[in-house]
Symmetry: C2
Subunit: 352 residues, 2 copies
DNA sequence: TTGTATGCGTTATCAG
DNA sequence: CTGATAACGCATACAA
């Protein structure tokens, strides 16, 4: 038997008005609990609305109020523990404040970033939370959006030259401390595996690494510093960087992986080549996976407070969106990364 | 100096009309490349629109067309490798088809599920992709939505009695095969760690486990079958279930963890109690983390094609949304889970 | 206290 | 070929 599927139709204020012999404005006011409506009418309307399960049409409201109660989120990759934890935080705060969260991902492509940005900002969102794509070196599109008054909050991979709210972790410190930890444990050939060099976080993390070397009298070596321009998204790219490291003339005794993706990739490569961690090569990397703690031997990691970052970014954004008066001050919130050192990891036998 | 922040204002068709001395209808038609507009006017309008970067207002369009080009996604937890991979798949297909993805999470709470559902379905979305919360035993809200014509596609945790598209993996088989693998390797006391018993997937997986036992002449033992009603979201709950298993009179020699969350929790508990896997207790579980392969000793897992599931669900949904004629047939797509057996895991020393 | 008219941005219908 | 008008659902200034 053929199944009848009707269109999803919902009741409007007009239906209520007609049914009750009132005008739409009266109904509207009653529903909004306006003081100028008599208690009887109010009750009448409210009861009926309840009965037929009236739900206001948010789209009509959006058109009228010129705001959608939606925020857009642009990240490079949703299926990534760091970003999904951030999105978790974003959703939590947005939900509590009655906002929808619209997500889109760039897969590290500048082109997709531009498309997503144009798509989202054609007034279907009230504000934007962004971690820029690894490919993006031209920030003019963000500048433009910013100049046109779109509330934007950056997190993680920020655009330093834009004067708006930013939420970051102290990448410099994370990398610095991890490097120092390796140095103190006797490692001398510490390699740095970087993401795309144009990213703010790449610069900061590399700087932290270099400072730690300098502070401890170790000199930097170019063949110990590798980059993955696609942020580790392309396995071939990772493989090449690792290959160069492992076969270079100065083979590292430790590797510092400067992003989640890179840590995983690095670990995978080492495993595939049957290189023992940390006996042959030690490894510390950024990681937000909830499984790192379960890896054996325990892996030392630099963990970012992703959930917190999402919450903070959203709070900042909502403040920006809902502030009646022009905002005159923007904040850059810097959170501390968590350096988690696990026994037997990154500790050379016989070292202090 | 005070910073001036203006509202994000965008150009409308009206602005173009005024600037060019045309009517809004002419502009609208020119922009839509209507045949009834002269080439000159068309060019004029198009050039000007390009110049001032005109973007149509999707909200006005939504109101007019009674569709938002947005789909809602409801999952229990965003920061979960399985779900984030599914969302990745959903976003991919949605993006390609010009749809926005609005996500919300229930954190396994029925109450939040209802709130999210009401919020999303008040006409701001064209369709819905859902994996029901662990707490949900009353499906009438979905039934109602369905009856009112809202296109819904369920994945993973489905509502069996609703006649709509569903995307699942063959949970029964996954659990069955994993159990058989354990049995063949000599394990006799195989525990099953389950999620909430009302969930479709819990029932299927448990059935697979039981069938495998029966087929191999092992009898089921109630104290080897434990449930975590909150799907492993509450650590205390996990801890209790594990505690009962480990201290019960028939201590298991192997555990089958029947969801991602449970596998992680189980592993964590075993680690905390310094119980060696698989020497003391073997473990096979559902897992979609990209780190499971890096765990040492290697962990055997049942992996779900999450990305594929997201893509399929979205394709089905878009078909439902965009079909002009009433849909008369609904499909349940069942994908095969991947049973990944790794050396030295789940293999008893000296077993066949 | 309630009803009428207008507008949010767009497209479709109907005139011209 | 182009312009005026109505409509999508709602809220509000203005009338009554």
């Amino acid at each position: 038997m053929p199944l009848i599927v009707m269109k999803f139709e919902a009741v409007t204020i007009k239906d209520i008005a007609k049914a009750l012999g009132l005008s739409t404005s009266t109904v509207s006011r009653a529903l909004r609990d306006s003081y100028e409506i008599s208690p009887e009418t109010k009750k009448l309307v409210l009861d009926y609305a309840e009965k037929i399960n009236y739900q206001p049409n948010p789209i009509a409201l959006s058109l009228k109020e010129r705001r959608s109660h939606s925020i857009g989120v642009i990240v490079s990759e949703i299926a990534n523990s760091f970003f999904s934890q951030v999105i978790d935080g974003i959703e939590s705060v947005a939900y509590r404040n009655g906002y929808n969260v619209i997500i889109s991902q760039t897969r590290e492509s500048y082109e997709r970033e531009v498309i997503n940005l144009n798509y989202l900002t054609s007034r279907s969102i009230d504000g934007l939370i962004v971690s820029v794509s690894a490919e993006t070196s031209d920030f003019s599109i963000f500048k433009e959006l910013y100049d046109r008054g779109m509330p934007i909050v950056f997190f993680d991979r920020i655009v330093p030259e834009l004067n708006t709210h930013k939420v970051v972790v102290d990448s410099y410190r994370g990398a610095y401390d991890a490097t120092v930890h390796l140095i103190r444990n006797g490692y001398k050939q510490i390699a740095a595996l970087n993401s795309n060099p144009v990213l703010s976080i790449t610069k900061d993390r590399l700087a932290g690494y270099l400072a730690a070397l300098a502070d401890h009298g170790l000199k930097e070596k170019n063949d110990l510093i590798k980059y993955c321009p696609h942020a580790g998204l392309l396995p071939a790219e990772m493989e090449e960087a690792m290959g160069q490291l492992l076969s270079g003339k100065s083979r590292p005794d430790a590797i510092l992986a400067l992003s989640d993706k890179l840590t995983t990739g690095c670990l995978r490569t080492l495993k595939a080549r049957k290189i023992k961690v940390p006996e042959e090569i030690a490894l510390i990397g950024f990681s937000n996976s909830d499984l790192t703690e379960l890896i054996d031997p325990p892996l030392s990691i630099i963990k970012q407070p992703a959930f917190e970052m999402g919450k903070l970014a959203t709070n900042s954004l909502l403040q920006l969106i809902e502030s009646k008066r022009p905002v005159t001050e923007f904040t850059t919130t810097t959170l501390a990364p968590q350096l988690i050192i696990r026994e037997s990891s990154g500790q050379r036998k016989g070292a202090s």
